[in-house]
């Protein structure tokens, strides 16, 4: 049912080997010795693509670079290396006007619907704002029509009920729908959703996730969902990219990864997700310590310092993503590339 769509439809958004380094902070001693600051490698070579109608989830813990990746996609940051290609045209290095037109194609949905709506603007103005900024509407009537259409698409129908309200008059779920409606006003082809439900009550998360899923499936919008929550990904994403310390360590078809994770990090991450079933009390594989400082990335495989199955070679060799199955790749020395015979014993543990 959920076969990868990339094979059938050409990608609308492509990230090609994105790298983002931030200037690190120098200690006083280093500054005195004129030693340069170690750069913070927030994103260290990330590639993926999204097709129309597809939901790609970028999953990882804080500090893994997923939000930086989102900002790179949106053109809010300029990558140190690599590029973002939207509809065959690179995003980076565009003129202001081109950047503006790019933004019409790609819109962002933010995490916190309580914070991302201006409390003093009416809903009609919130949704109309992108139209006004980009001078899209040809007349006030056209603007009103576009606003009503966006609200309806976001599930706020009839639109007239909401137009003259203020954000505080709406529930959390309705507010997030307004954020979605405002992103839809320009009829974008790509939506970047940064933790779209993490600030919402569990009881209303499903409605927003169903909305985003529907926008992809029914209206062909490509959705990139940035999240730390694997259980929502399980139900709503077509494909997953698991990030650790600025790299994608495993990517592929969502259900397949959940059923048969290959990278030790993905396995540990899946094992600690609390499952709402007391009869299935699991044995979580809790990793010790925390994600290392991205200014001091470990040598070799970046995960080897916390990896329960690391071997000697992991200290020195930085593994690349290798295909381990149909639309499934993992960056680990212990995985078996598809087609290769035999299974290394260490990879099957856990």
């Amino acid at each position: 049912m959920l076969e990868p769509r990339s094979a059938t439809r050409p990608a609308v958004l492509v990230a090609e080997d994105l790298v983002m380094h931030f200037a690190g902070r120098r200690s006083m001693a280093d500054a005195l010795r004129r030693r340069p600051a170690a750069p913070v490698q927030a994103v260290a070579g990330v590639s993926f693509q999204v097709s129309p109608g597809e939901v790609l989830a970028i999953v990882g813990e804080s500090g893994c670079g997923k939000t930086t990746t989102a900002n790179l996609l949106m053109g809010l940051l300029t990558p140190t290396a690599g590029r973002v290609v939207l509809d065959g045209r690179p995003v980076g290095g565009r003129s202001r006007a081109e950047l503006a037109s790019m933004r019409r194609e790609m819109q962002m949905i933010f995490q916190d619907p309580y914070e991302s709506l201006n409390p003093r603007m009416r809903i009609a103005d919130v949704v109309a704002e992108p139209l006004r900024v980009h001078h899209v509407a040809t007349s006030p009537a056209d603007e009103a029509e576009r606003v009503a259409r966006a609200l309806t698409r976001a599930g706020l129908a009839p639109a007239e009920v909401y137009l003259h309200r203020y954000p505080f008059e709406l529930s959390g779920g309705q507010r997030q729908r307004v954020v979605v409606a405002s992103a839809l006003a320009l009829e974008p082809r790509v939506l970047i959703a940064d933790e779209p439900v993490s600030m919402l009550d569990v009881s209303i998360r499903a409605e927003i996730l169903n909305l985003l899923r529907g926008l992809a499936t029914e209206q062909g919008i490509a959705v990139v969902m940035i999240t730390h929550d694997l259980s929502t990904v399980a139900a709503y994403a077509d494909r997953i990219a698991v990030m650790y310390l600025g790299r994608i360590v495993e990517t592929g078809h969502a259900r397949r990864i959940l059923a048969d994770p290959q990278h030790p990090y993905t396995r540990a991450l899946l094992s600690v997700v609390p499952v709402p079933d007391p009869s299935a009390r699991r044995r979580p594989q809790v990793l010790a310590g925390e994600t290392p400082d991205p200014a001091r990335v470990p040598s070799g495989c970046r995960f080897h310092t916390r990896c329960p199955v690391a071997i000697e070679r992991c200290r020195t060799i930085d593994p690349a993503l290798v295909t381990v199955g149909d639309d499934h790749a993992a960056a680990c020395l212990l995985v078996t590339p598809s087609g290769a015979p035999g299974v290394p014993p260490a990879a099957r543990r856990g």
Binding site: E61, S62, M74, L99, R103, R104, Q107, M108, F110, Q111, E115, S116, N118, P119, R120, M121, E129, P130, V133, H134, Y166, F168, S171, G172, G173, V179, S182, D201, V202, S203, I204, R205, A206, E207, L209, N210, H228, D229, L230, S231, A234, A235, A254, R255, L258, A268, L269, V272, V273, P274, V275, P276, D277, P278, S279, R281, P284, V286, L287, E290
Partner: protein, 654 residues
Amino acid sequence: MTAVVQATAPIVTGMVQSGFLVRLVRRPMGAIGLGMLVIAVVVAVLAPVLAPYDPDANVHVGIEDVYQTPSAAHLLGTDDGGNDVLSALIFGARVSLVVGFAASLMTILIGGTIGLVAGYRGGWLSTVLMRFTDFVLVIPDLALQIVIVAILGPSLLNIILVIGGLGWTSTARLVRSQTLSVRERMFVTRARAIGAGDLHIVWRHVLPQILPLMLATMVLAVSLAILAESSLAFIGLGDPTVISWGQMLNFAFSLGAVSAGAWWALLPPGFAIVWVVLGTTLLGTALEDVLNPRLKRHHLERDRSVRVAEPEGMGWLRVEPVRADAPLLRVRGLTVEFDSPAGPLRAVHDASFELRRGETLGLVGESACGKTTTVLGLLRLLPPGGRVTAGQVLFDGEDLMALPERDLRAVRGKRLAIVFQGAMNALNPVRRVGDQVAEVIRIHEPEVGARVADRRARVLLERVGIGGGRYADYPHQYSGGMRQRAMIAMALACRPDVIVADEPTTALDVMIQAQILELLAGLAREFGMATILVTHDLGVVAQVCDRVVVMYGGRVVEDAPTLRLFADPQHPYTRLLLASFPDLLHPERPLQSIPGSPPRLDAMPPGCPFAPRCPAAFDRCSTVKPPAYDLGDGRRAACLLVEPGHRAPEPIHA
């Protein structure tokens, strides 16, 4: 605390948005200030009608007209020129108010623009603008005003320009700091992501947020400008062609009013100045109060307003024999209310549950359903304005609600410890973490020396996974997970019988969450502690809790052992909550959401609080508040569907 803030936030915002003027006038300061100012403005506007004499009509002045005592013809006597003081006072209002408002408008325009640009743009421009502001700020205002007016000539326009041109510095600094904080807010980032330009963002997003503050500042600036004009006029630098209150004082002083004993020439203008300055100050202060409500006091501040009403009838029967199998903590009928302008709001209603030794109890529900308020209430740590109005909390047989504050402090922390959600806020940012842990030990066991406390603190931190190398670090050097570990170490410091953890892992990553939960469970086993876990995460509850209490609308709606609750939920709310929670092991199960939102405290439904959202509600649900029915097997549910003798009704479909 979070739950309380979330519950009251829509109400507060609502009032700011709608009845702003009403709220302003409801404050005595606001009403009086506004009234005083309105009177002054009306007098100024209607001067030609109100004044008994035309101030310019003093054609024939005789020596006998000068400094006449107040009489029926001249209610406030006459001045040095034989003019009616009352008329001068009334016409003087025009000049003083024009100077006041014009100059303060100027300060707002200059200061506001500089503050806005410096705050929004930042960088070198901000540095230049703010250093310039500092430079202007250190110049003694009055001295410079005197010099400039003396050079330019004392015309009314010059006076306004000088006062306005020098008085904008504090406005600029205020506006800048406000702009800085608004600039960081998410809706500004969102506007940037939409592709909006700076001008658009400042105009539509930043300015509306700081306008109220600017209004309050402007009103206060009016009084400063009027004072400045009076001072200038008093030392002879007022515009000689018009009459202002300062000018009246100047003439009276310099032309012998004091030696003539003519108090009526001096007191009225002085009084008028005080009147307007007092009025604007009162109004400005009230405006600030209404527009920046700093209601958020920290929830750890001691609650002085605890007033406990004994539950009707049997409250004196408090002494309970302690048996081994008796619950360690027994909450009975706990009811918490908060003050609001509309009267007391009930946040927790008749909550009852029990906790046994070594047990882990989950307190679950959506936000604003009363979970946090319940635990703060049972520890008597409610924020100001909140109080326990009924109920008992029996801890080892002792009623915490009836305990004097002194004895309660010994229980709190020592036997009942709490771990808060925002660990960063609960740690003192300027003190070393290790010292803060040692301090807790010394507070509860003063006989322990500094060295011993220090050593114990190290052991404790090590036990929660923080190595000795981090003992002397400050909280900001810790990650979120380490701060939460430090908080747990502090809670452990006195070997409590019960740990209350309020959303201990909510802001943490899933791996760190697993570490913290593993730590808490291990400690509970090791020390035989009981745990109350406040959370909205049903996955966490399923994995670690022995018993679950589900809350909705401030009431306990279901209470059951964890296995039974998940296998066979009785209350429709519990059922829907479970259906909304994603399950990694069953991604094919479609998730539902619960339509609508939890009831607001000021708009509780008359019957069952869940009735408006309940798919199984029938007619009686909107009128009857269901009590908690005992279902046997340690299960209770507050729903008419489980009422004994209830026959399945026809459900009402929305």
